[in-house]
Amino acid sequence: MQVEQQSLICTGCGCLCDDLDVTLAQGQLQEVANVCLWGLSRFFPTKRLHPKKERHRLLEPLSRLNGRLQEVPYTTALEQAAQILGQARRPLIYGLTNTGSWAQEAALQLARKIKARLEPADLAFKAPYYHSLRKHGLYWAPLEVIRDEADTVLFWGANPLHTCPRHLVRYSVFARGRYTERGVEDRQVAAVDLYQTEMAKFCQLLVQIEPGQELSLLQGIGAHLPGGSGVKPAVKGARKLAKFLSQAEFGVIFFGRGATYNQGLAVLDALGGLAARLGEKQTWALFPLSGDFNSQGLYHLLLNELGAPEAPDFGHEGGVLTSSTPVDFHEFDAILVLGADLFWFLPEDQALALQKRQVPVVSMSPFANRTTSCAQVVLPTALAGLEAAEVAYRMDGLPLVLKKLLPTSLPADRDILLDLIQAM
């Protein structure tokens, strides 16, 4: 049996760890080394963080007939998808944060053609961040520099162990950087969260707050920074955090989705203001912790092409409108979902409303998920970075080329989108 060793880039999360070693035998994946449980689910059909729970891999296109999904040829599924999207008055293309950049470019092309709105799956998380940058300016450092130089790290509403598990060992906490050679011993680490998470095991300071206390805590920190009013903070831990932050030489605030669950716009505005204020005397960066593997690639594309990291809507007369407000699904009468599991994230009432209105959903996915189970048409896709070559942007915006290692008969996301464009 011919056994082959290859290096692989993991598409499990925005870290895009490129130090995975895989063993291939007879065109099959046998073993993956250096991978986290999160990443493992990209290569073996298992559930995220639960490697013993199997996930169903989609291998044939499906179409709903008499309420049941049935296998159909690719051309039939493609025609039906083109018909659904082409006949829609207000189509929506949703997701894309877990697809490669070539597919994202094709999706943007499709959105232009069918005059659709293109909605990044994590808009509610990223839009407040970009809003904050617009207001406070930016100090941006790639993870390479953060790993080498950051001596103070604050996680706000983020638990990388659950969203991007190897972030801690590769970039932010335990990594031995060029000028942080002792890893975690050369860094001060703190976290702000609603729960006592696993982060408490290595954070020097974990401030646990109640929902809704974020802004009060940020105000309290501001009051206790040098030059602040010094008013007694309303939230416990503000004084300690202010002291923690002000002793940094090179600091970074990693924020996660938790920062945007409650008053996201205001919290990110305050975090941006805090980073800018700290940055007047020291070096401070504000950095979003993207769980999806190519979220950064999508926003990069939108910035490059449209000048706004927001959801573009090509369905308006007089040109494209961009919106930072998450989509109102009531407006739309057909949805194409790829690179995300829409029905997993959607609140139950909205999911039910979509089903009640019988909004047809076309789903492109390598695995079965809640969205594929509700879809009218399902187009199975090759796994980017294993069965299809692609480009993806790491969470710091550096592009990496994902290789094709395994043969497959399934088309890549981009190929399906280009076929759809042609079929319209």
Binding site: I9, A141, E149, N304
Partner: protein, 456 residues
């Protein structure tokens, strides 16, 4: 296609053609001395015919630059390509590519249509500090630099910080001052056929330059902040150093309203993408005071819109009455001729980048030709209006702009880099060992660009 451009006034400093009315012949992608049967004749009556422009320092694809679009402070890559072509440019050189942003820069450059591209590899001398101190390892350093240049697909080397300094006081014993660094770079240049672009600073100007041809001083205008530094800059240019002006952009970045936009590339200081409004007069004074061939045209910051930024600067150079009045009394009366303009925006940039078949109109040159509507009677005061927008642009013999309209939006383009054939040594492994990306992913693969052209 065989093309004859007839009736135009040719300006080509490399051949000494100063407005000579002469026909120009193009066969395929090359300029030829004569042609039997042209397929197409382009009338250039009343127009000047010059080589395609080369922006020596077109900051268009720097890592992090796309953030400027948040404030509407930067055009899309598609628009950038069109704006450059409309201004008569066929090549743009990005100044800031680093070891780990190489892939990013190349992907951005590949997305700029119409114009060819290339980039400078910014060296972080902290990667080499111990090797620079021990002079008997210079061959290893030279081989490593050549290897890095090839692997990052860059055209030349650039130093933003010609010194080794650490932000962490713990490493202060490993610092290297500018004088010592320049000494080592000079030896590297002499012994191993290397050339370095230094971002100019008063500190660099103060130091002697024993090997002028080994260095190009970028953004020299910014460093010339007083009369003494101006004298030093002129002395360096007289010694044979080449330089570019680094005009501060005349377009105010108002939407940013002074907000910081800083990108940390791992150097001693971050790259400031929204610097405070600078003084344009030093670059202008330098341009007018220097009489020799060593000064190329460039902008000091991100190129926001060549169609709006370049014409006023040309205007100041070509017509003394349009120059900024404040503190301008001591400016020389000199006015740039069209030959000076072609030299600074075409001929010299091509020489500096080592693009031997560009920047001139001699037979054998690539047929990158720009035609500007500029009747002879137009006074220099109005040149800028005419020279800011080209009437016809040919790139490699293909018509890209005709009668001010873009006619070939899919014109092929390529990214140029230098192939060195250097060996990989232990220093390269040492540099790579600190990276979070494996070397095979650090080096720029084919897929991140579109078409590549290797230069020897």
């Amino acid at each position: 296609m065989n093309i004859k451009i007839t009736g135009g006034r040719l300006y080509d400093p490399a051949q000494g053609l100063d407005g000579v009315q002469q026909d120009l012949f193009i066969k395929g992608d090359r300029i030829v001395s004569s042609l039997q049967k042209p397929d197409r004749v382009i009338s250039a009556a009343g127009r000047v015919v010059v080589p395609g422009g080369i922006d020596l320092r077109g900051q268009v694809a720097t890592y992090g630059l796309n953030f400027l679009r948040l404030w509407n402070g930067f055009p899309s890559l598609e628009d950038l390509g069109r704006l450059y072509a409309a201004a008569g440019y066929t090549h743009v050189h990005e100044p800031f590519l680093t070891l780990y942003t190489a892939g990013y820069v190349h992907r951005q450059l590949a997305a700029i249509p119409l114009v060819d591209t290339s980039a400078s590899l910014v060296l972080n001398l902290r990667d080499l500090d111990n090797y620079l101190k021990s002079l008997d390892q210079l061959e290893e350093v030279a081989q490593t630099l050549k290897s890095l240049q090839e692997k990052t697909r860059s055209l030349d080397f650039r130093l933003l910080e010609p010194f080794v300094r650490y932000r962490q006081s713990f490493y202060s014993h490993r610092t290297l001052d500018t004088a010592k660094t320049l000494e080592v770079l000079t030896r590297l240049a002499r012994e191993f056929d290397l050339r370095f672009t230094l971002e100019a600073s008063p500190e660099v100007l103060e130091l002697p330059c024993p090997e002028p041809r080994a260095f190009h001083l970028a953004v020299l205008g910014r460093a010339v902040t007083d009369d003494r530094l101006l004298e030093l800059a002129l002395a360096r240019l007289a010694e044979g150093v080449s330089a570019d002006l680094g005009f501060e952009s005349p377009i105010a970045a108002t939407p940013l309203d002074g907000k910081p936009v800083k990108i940390d590339l791992g150097g001693y200081s971050p790259l400031d993408l929204n610097p405070a409004a600078g003084d344009m007069l030093p670059a202008l004074r330098l341009a007018l005071a220097h009489q020799g061939p060593g000064l190329a045209f460039s902008l000091g910051g991100p190129v926001r819109n060549p169609l709006e930024e370049f014409p006023p600067l040309f205007s100041w150079l070509c017509d003394r009455r349009t120059r900024p009045l404040v503190d301008a009394q001591d400016l020389a009366d000199r006015e740039f001729s069209l030959m000076d303009w072609v030299w600074a925006t075409r001929t010299l940039p091509a020489k500096i980048l080592g693009l031997g078949d560009r920047g001139h109109l001699a037979p054998g040159a690539r047929a990158d030709v720009a035609l500007f509507e500029l009747p002879p009677e137009i006074p220099p005061a109005s040149w800028a209006k005419y020279l800011g927008r080209c009437h016809t642009l040919l790139k490699a013999g293909e018509t890209v702009i005709e009668n001010y309209e873009l006619v070939a939006p899919k014109t092929p383009k390529a990214t140029y880099y230098r192939r060195r054939g250097a060996k990989e040594g232990p220093l390269l492994s040492e540099i790579c060992q600190y990276r979070s990306i494996r070397p095979e992913n650090l080096w720029v693969p084919e897929e991140l660009g579109r078409a590549w052209v290797e230069l020897d």
